[in-house]
Amino acid sequence: MSETIKVPTMAEYMAQGKQPEVLFWVGCAGSFDDRAKKITKAFVKLLNRANVEFAVLGTEESCTGDPAKRSGNEFLFQMQAVTNIEVLNAYEVKKIVTACPHCFNTIKNEYPELGGNYEVMHHTQFLKTLLDEGRLTIEGGKFKGKRITFHDPCYLGRANNVYEAPRELIQKLEAELVEMKNCRRNGLCCGAGGAQMFKEPEKGDKDVNVERTEQALDVKPEIIAAGCPFCNTMMTDGVKAKEKESDVAVMDIAELIANAQDL
């Protein structure tokens, strides 16, 4: 690692009587999943690089309740939501950024009715803003000219109509952005949503992630870019199932930008 990362917590900010610019909601995958932790760190490096005053909740963060809600367990969802909202409101959080579209959707859309009103951004939107404000520069580096295809996460794309921010970031890498047969509002799910991530799929003749990976491989990318830790897992598994892991990498957009700068 080229530099150590700085990850202050909300409690630390509070102790100093200060308020960070934004709360980074890490999410369960970003906190515990080995693959997703790399995305978390890549994003933190970018935040450090851009001198963003951010904080995390750390051990005070808890599942947003998304998988419980999509499974039908409204009780558990609302218990999680109300608990989280209590913590967030106690810290007077105004703005939240997260690298998980599921956390993004839940906090942005389903928390307000329960008393949690925040400006919520997906990390690709946030990075785009940093770029526009001149706080972050993006260079192509090793991704210059590479063929990259972007897999739209359902909960970012169709669910919230965010299609362009991730694509604009990829183009800033001077990479060749290639679109799959199904993209943007017609994007095909990776198979993880609706709590499918946590269960075996129902009987069928194929796994959804394999179908989606085939669509991605059809456009012959060198990299499949993702914007969701769950999509990342599903697409990585799909690439392995097609025995293409030596040719095609699955990477989060934050990782692409951080790696391009050797952070």
Binding site: A68, N109, N186, A195, E202
Partner: protein, 437 residues
């Protein structure tokens, strides 16, 4: 004696419209069996959606071939039906082509000419639809739920339209006076020669026959709607008006649950206190939905609006990979069960009598419900703003909150969230460990 035709016409018209109104009332009653939901907000946005999506067909044309053909049939059908106005006036008052008397000839010719061109275009489009369905066998028209009635229904509608358009053109072609005018008979002038060998009297009989068959056909078609997927020509309008306005990813928060959770979290509330006067009835009888009456009335309107085009199912990731889930089947099952409940109510003097059946298991299986990834592809694909996902979610809520019948892996996931605030069994105190790894 001269009035017999008028009287017969009025009787047929009254009966045709009366029967239709009777079914519309039934339709309203059945939709109202659903749970109340407040959709009185954002009237201007709702009107805009209706204008764009239903009137403007904006989502139909996302699939250009089907969309283009559909726009022709849609525009043709609406505009040609202006002619029905003349037919009704003629029928009631015993006039013939009243339009010629009240409108300038040039305008009348222009109108009839447009109707004729549209009728020909509709005819061609309907033939192409039939070919796509029956010869090219487009996959979405041949899924497992598209057998027997749904399959026949689709073809009957196409035959109906072919016959009605033919009758309209034949009626004009055999109207000797109209052909002699030789203005506005843009298409029918090419059909007229087919009858040239016949006596004037025979041609007149054909003209009268076509005229009567045309109006009776329209009335039959009108009454067919209630039993058919073709009901969408009417319900697409209210359905797009009442369609979801919030982001697709936003699922509703169950209000009754919010109350419970707030009570649980409030240290000042005595959990053993008797409920306040008059609040006993506030708790819903059931969380989620196991039958059609548990769904919102908008979901039931959705079910009646579905025209079984299958765009949802063809976009569904679960269906594409061979799972049993088909969003179209969810809608068809909901309508079938709702019809069954409606008939039950009719047969039992306005009261629903327990029939030992419900939407869950008798129509929609658990396997279908658990195959959904909640990706919203079906919602995005629907050309008339139907939301199959909300039905799936309501039924999952019933399974989990009323029956604790989630798949075992999901129960494990939920237990983890309850115990340690993450779907996996990691300690919440380790949440920031990644920082130092």
């Amino acid at each position: 004696m001269n009035y017999i035709a008028n009287i017969i016409f009025i009787v047929i018209l009254t009966f045709g419209i009366g029967f239709f109104v009777k079914n519309v009332k039934k339709l309203f009653r059945n939709i109202k069996l659903g749970q109340d939901v407040d959709v009185s907000d954002n009237k201007s946005q709702r009107l805009k959606n209706m204008a764009l999506i239903a009137l403007g067909q904006s989502k139909m044309v996302r699939r250009p071939i089907a969309g283009f053909l559909h726009v022709i049939v849609y525009v043709g059908f609406i505009i040609i039906n202006i002619e029905v106005l003349e037919i009704i006036i003629d029928g009631v008052f015993g006039t013939h082509r009243i339009g010629l008397t009240v409108l300038p000839i040039s305008l009348y010719s222009f109108l009839i000419g447009s109707f004729e061109v549209l009728a020909a275009l509709v005819f061609i489009s309907v033939i192409l639809f039939w070919i796509r369905r029956n010869i090219m066998k487009l996959k979405r028209f041949w899924k497992s739920e598209m057998t027997s009635w749904p399959k026949n229904d689709a073809n009957y509608i196409l035959y109906f339209e072919m016959v009605l358009m033919t009758l309209f053109l034949v009626m004009n072609a055999t109207d000797i006076h109209f052909q002699d005018m030789n203005s506005g008979n843009i298409v029918s002038q090419y059909i007229a020669p087919l009858f040239s060998g016949l006596s004037e009297n025979a041609i007149h009989i054909i003209e009268r026959g076509a005229w009567w068959a045309h109006i009776v056909g329209i009335l039959i078609f009108l009454n067919y709607l209630y039993y058919s997927k073709h009901l969408h020509i009417l319900l697409a309008f209210p359905n797009t008006y009442y369609g979801k306005l919030t982001p697709k990813g936003q699922f509703n928060n169950v209000e009754a649950v919010t109350k419970e959770v707030k009570m649980m979290m409030d240290p000042n509330i005595d959990p053993f206190a008797a409920p306040a006067e008059g609040t006993e009835g506030e708790m819903p009888a059931k969380f989620g939905a196991s039958d059609v009456q548990d769904l919102s009335w908008v979901s039931l309107l959705n079910a009646y609006t579905c025209t079984e085009c299958g765009r949802c199912t063809s976009e569904c990731p679960a269906n594409q990979t061979g799972k049993k889930l088909s969003p179209r089947k969810i809608m068809m099952d909901t309508r079938d069960r709702l019809e069954e409940v409606g008939k039950n109510i009719d047969a039992n003097k306005g009261e629903f009598k327990e029939d030992g059946k419900q939407l869950l298991d008798n129509y929609i299986t658990r396997e279908e419900l658990w195959a959904c990834t909640s990706c919203n592809a079906c919602v995005e694909a629907c050309p008339v703003s139907i939301d199959p996902l909300s039905i799936i979610m309501e039924m999952r809520r019933y399974l989990v909150m009323e029956q604790s019948a989630a798949p075992v892996e999901l129960n494990n996931m939920m237990t983890n969230i309850e115990n340690n605030g993450a779907p996996w069994p990691y300690n919440q105190m380790d949440r920031l460990n990644w920082k130092n790894e």
